[in-house]
Amino acid sequence: MSDHSSPEQLKKDIRVYLTIFGALLVGTVLTVGMYYVHLTSVPLTIGIALTIATVKAGLVAGYFMHLISEKKAIYATLATTAFFFVALMGLTLWSMHDFPFHTLVNGK
């Protein structure tokens, strides 16, 4: 984890972090700005908002959490996490089909 970096490398790293910070700020402005643009399509609104969020998450994980320069074992662990995340979300969607929507909506 603690590789010995030279002062020049450190300066370079700080510049990268500041650039990522700027990009994240732009992403936040975009996310909040979306609130003022009223799109008629709900799936499109959700899609755009989550796409911006995913890009921001990618930047944080990739650079702030050093994922972009990691070893193979870390990626394997991450793949396992991704698999179980998708599986859990899938279970949620699956259980939604078990809900008797047409028999009980707000008690009516």
Partner: protein, 134 residues
């Protein structure tokens, strides 16, 4: 009909209102909408007898599954933020001593604290638009 209740009814429910021996609650209906805008200020107070209430609930977790999920998500996130802040405050105020004796271990701790902090950050990146903007 929508409106608001006079006072600070943040945690009111039927049992609490009855316990306080309140006889009426003051309900102020929203003015009727006129072409999408509220009509001139007609904030009339309508006293409602507590004995006539069938159901009363504030926006507490038990009000609706939405609020249960909302408070579970935000509350758990707040706990993570507090935990991260405590760890970073500890390293900031008491880490200096370790820097003199075991700098390698200290930088490792800071690295791990940073990883945890950015994980909490990552969660908020998704929570914020999902809860407050969509």
């Amino acid at each position: 009909m929508t409106g608001h209740i006079e006072g600070s009814p943040r945690f009111w429910n039927l049992a609490k209102v009855t316990d306080r021996k309140m006889e009426t609650i003051q309900f102020i209906p929203d003015p009727p909408l006129h072409e999408g805008k509220e009509a001139a200020h007609e904030h009339k107070v309508h006293p409602v007898k507590v004995s006539e209430l069938a159901y009363l609930s504030a926006y507490v977790p038990s009000h609706h599954p939405y609020f249960a999920i909302y408070f579970a998500l935000t509350g758990l996130h707040a706990l993570h933020v507090i935990a991260g802040a405590v760890v970073m405050a500890y390293l900031f105020f008491f880490g200096g001593k370790m820097w003199k004796t075991q700098p390698e271990r200290l930088t490792n701790r800071i690295e791990v604290a940073g990883l945890f902090w950015h994980f909490v950050d990552l969660v908020w990146i998704f929570l914020f638009p999902v809860l407050y903007l969509l």
